[in-house]
Amino acid sequence: MTPEQTQADLLPGFLAISSVLTGFSEHALRGTGQTELYLATACEMVGDDSMRMMLGAFSACDIGDDTEAMGRHMRLCILSHARFGPLARNLIKLWYIGTWHCMPRDWHEAFGGNPADRDHIPSPTSYTEGLLWPAIGANPPGAKPFGYGMWANPPRVTRA
């Protein structure tokens, strides 16, 4: 499979885990326009195999709508896991602030991935589309302007 095919295949799982990790609906995540880019970024830095294994572990139990069970599952099988935990935390940061942080050195030593992994911002829209802004009910400073004189009014933030 080409990288594009691999990623298209991983996309539904990536959206599902991202929704649980961030607390935003899949609809809201798609609405940022960053989904494919973030999946590609993460896969490029940690390798497709780590991503595929984490998504496999995530969907291993059929939890349905039980949020408490999902919380337990995430803590036990993903966030406490030596390989998946740092990746999951990186995804939370990526969605919220629009920056990919270099994975810890010992993670790369243990699990491989891209030797060129580095801190970076995947695209100029990653900052403006960060979940941080709707989470705190503010417009991203310096972006998404609301027009002359509107600073005097409360921010109007799209939250799906």
Binding site: S25, H27, R30, G31, G33, T125, G149, T158
Partner: protein, 359 residues
């Protein structure tokens, strides 16, 4: 008596209402194409469409000022004000329909027809206006009269009929024609970030200045590419996107010789053309988002109406609404429609449906 002449004040009001509908009818298609461009790509095309869309908003406001000046009451909330797409334009051009579609050569070709100069293909049409019975069910974007209608080949000719009517009524009534409350005029301080400026209409001279600005910015009634201030008419601005080259001063029509206009037709969200609420599964997030868009748009039109009906300061939050609407556009256009082969959602602009068929 000719049916297409404006002979009384009520006729002038009707025409100006239709002109507001007409100006508005261009905005959903322009914005749909504009916001379907993926952010950061097609920056020059984005700027061209954005500038034209903002000027259509200026024209809408200028017509609102005109209607207020002659004692009419602008109302953007009346049933049928927002066109149902695909739409025929309210000035009766019926040789083409306007779609809300993604940025594409087809979209730009439609925009060229909207902005076409009055004399283009004139021989083919054989006259300035054609008057005929309305074919039922074909004209969805609003009409000038109930039974027999005027049909204009271009928007420029429609405005020429309004100007003629204004002259006739002014000859009869004198300055009494301008009986509206001057405090209702939306002044230049409320318009920014676009070409031209707002004109408060209080007499014949300012009324004509407003009409001239609309005509000049649009298709250019004098059929020149640039106006006297060096601003390029909408028709030629759009044509640059299809021809892939900028116009320069001194260029002949259809033969721009300036630098290239880079266009990437693929860097676009694959939205459904003329999307409808019924394209989105009931209860889905996409449908909810489309409904939220429509109700936000309805609130925006109500706010504009309020601004036109004596509270010009409402224009500031109304402009704020437009920025918010941009966010809602993007959110919809990034969602795929279940059950389609790779088509994404888009605003449906079914504003009347909010009242007729609330969910």
């Amino acid at each position: 008596m000719s049916l297409h002449r404006i002979t009384d004040l009520a006729g002038l009001h009707r025409h100006l209402h239709a002109a507001m509908q007409l100006e508005h009818a261009t905005i959903p298609p322009y914005l749909t194409a504009l916001y379907s461009i993926m952010p950061g790509t097609n920056t020059e095309a984005f700027d061209i469409i954005r500038a034209v869309a903002v000027e259509e908003m200026l024209h809408l406001t200028l017509v609102g000022n005109l209607l207020n000046a002659v004692g009419g009451t602008p109302d953007l909330t009346v049933h049928g004000f927002v066109a149902s797409y695909p739409a025929m334009l309210p000035d009766g051009e019926e040789d083409f329909a306007v779609d809300c579609q993604r940025f594409s050569p087809e979209a730009i070709s439609t925009f060229l027809r909207i902005e076409r100069p009055a004399d283009l293909d004139h021989g083919e049409k054989g006259g300035r206006t054609i008057t005929r019975k309305k074919a039922r069910g074909t004209v969805k974007a609003g009409h000038v009269g109930p039974e027999t209608e005027e049909h204009f080949f271009s928007i420029g000719e429609f405005y020429k009929a309004i100007e003629d009517g204004l002259d006739r009524l002014h000859a009869d009534m004198g300055e009494a024609l301008f009986c509206g409350n001057p405090a209702s005029q939306i002044g230049p301080e409320y318009y920014y970030s676009g070409g031209g400026g707002l004109i408060a209409v209080t007499d014949l001279a300012s009324a004509k200045a407003a009409l001239d600005l609309i005509a000049e910015q649009g298709e250019g009634v004098t059929d020149t590419i640039f106006d006297e201030d060096g601003e390029i008419a909408h028709y030629y601005r759009f044509q640059q996107l299809l021809l892939g080259r900028y116009y320069r001063a001194g260029d002949a029509r259809d033969k721009p010789t300036g630098g290239p206009v880079p266009v990437d037709w693929k860097a676009v969200y694959p939205i459904k053309t003329n999307a409808r609420l019924d394209d989105f599964t009931k209860g889905s997030d996409l449908r909810e988002a489309a409904l939220e868009f429509n109700s936000t748009y309805a609130i925006f039109l109500a706010r504009l109406t309020c601004a036109f009906q004596g509270a010009p300061e409402e224009f500031i939050p109304a402009v704020g609404d437009m920025f918010h609407i941009k966010e809602l556009f993007h959110r919809l256009m990034r969602q795929s429609i279940r059950g389609t082969e790779g088509l994404n959602g888009a605003p449906t602009f079914e504003i009347d449906r909010l009242k007729d068929d609330p969910e």
